[in-house]
Symmetry: C2
Subunit: 210 residues, 2 copies
DNA sequence: AAATTTCTGTTGCATTTGCAACAAAGTTGT
DNA sequence: ACAACTTTGTTGCAAATGCAACAGAAATTT
């Protein structure tokens, strides 16, 4: 099974005439795509950061999700929602690969190697994406803020093979990711510090238990 | 793009010697699989109902997820968690297809039709699964119980092309799905009834607005 | 290098939610 | 057809969380 990095390099090197795939760069703040009337669109974030945003009828902005490098997104992966439109905004300068669902299903006539490699890499990426979504669901279903934070820290700690790690995004974004009020989260972080469960300097966290 | 029903029928009819795929029936209450030391295992629920359960160190049982017909599950799709083991329990009599991740990636020597059809159908199923996971995340990230309920009802209403619909699972399971306390949910349902937003008779709901 | 915007950190207060506990209705197993 | 279990429905109370508001630090733009 290829690593995400290998897959990413493969996607970046893509330049095939049988594959209907295109890539584009975006500057911070630009709209990458909208999830409406773009049936079967799929995208891969090759580098940078983006976020999935909803504006409801009142014009309220909600950050629904955070998209990082190597993540797959697009309307095909998202429930059709009649009520309101979703936007993907570039949070930093970034590069995005676009294609449609058909690319996966149809084989090219010549049965070329690039084509089947693309298909397999995509498979792996979608499976990884599923794991990421299941991870977030696990965190979101924790009963309280403390459990959400500690479970998330546990994951980062395991990934980093260390009790110390740096949060991969801002505290504001972390609150969105865990779907909790930012100030309530800050309060809970303060309690965890006071009670000696964690040490925290900015975005650097150290777990002090076990 | 094939429908889920077509895919399901295809999987049920599978009987190929080049594909390393097997199916088994389970009675209500049986353990279908555990997510540990079964690397790369993937499963499809062909019919019936199952649930994903965690027992933590204290022996507390938590229902993490509900698996319905046509859903894909298994360790490959789930974050590795060093701390505790996950079980899939048959909630009703059910039938499950088992295979490993390799089946997707490797082509058989003869490049047989069944094999590639399997691969494509699996692709579609995983994409559908991603949509389901994204749907649940959208619901879980709603700020309060009322929004969770109404958003979920909206989805069911759209799917059913009607303001009336029947909940696909018990109220107890609904509370788990939305990750809210059951009694708090019942209270909120009572309020929604009082305030004239919905009508409710058992599991049959009718939306009264718009 | 000044101005603007975003992010971090904190607090008081009101509201929502979870918890515990119980009774009645409905299901399932023997 | 009886017993055991599960699901639905309700309530009082305590605790957790969200909201509003603000100030200082950090980052970004001009």
């Amino acid at each position: 099974m290829p690593t995400e990095l290998e897959i990413l390099n493969f996607f970046k090197s893509l330049n095939s005439n049988c594959l209907k795939v295109s890539s584009r760069s975006f500057a911070r703040g630009e709209t990458v795509t909208t999830y409406i009337e773009k049936r079967n669109q799929m995208c891969i974030l090759l580098n940078g950061e983006a976020e999935l945003i909803r504006y409801d009828f009142n014009g309220n902005k909600t950050i629904i999700g955070h998209i990082s490098s190597n993540e797959i997104f697009g309307e095909s992966l998202y429930p059709a929602n009649t009520n309101n439109e979703l936007f993907v905004l570039a949070k930093s300068d970034c590069e995005v690969l676009f294609f449609t669902y058909n690319v996966i299903l149809k084989k090219c006539k010549t049965n070329c190697k690039i084509h089947s490699e693309f298909s397999q890499n995509l498979h792996t990426l979608i499976l990884n994406q599923t794991v990421k979504l299941n991870t977030r669901i696990e965190l979101l279903t924790k009963k309280n803020i403390r459990d959400k934070l500690l479970s998330y820290f546990e994951i980062l700690s395991n990934k980093n093979l260390s009790k110390s790690f740096t949060l991969p995004f801002s505290l504001t974004d972390l609150a969105d990711y865990l779907s909790i009020d930012r100030s309530a989260m800050m309060r809970e972080l303060a309690h965890l510090k006071e009670e000696g469960f964690i040490q925290k300097k900015g975005k650097k966290i150290t777990l002090l238990y076990e």
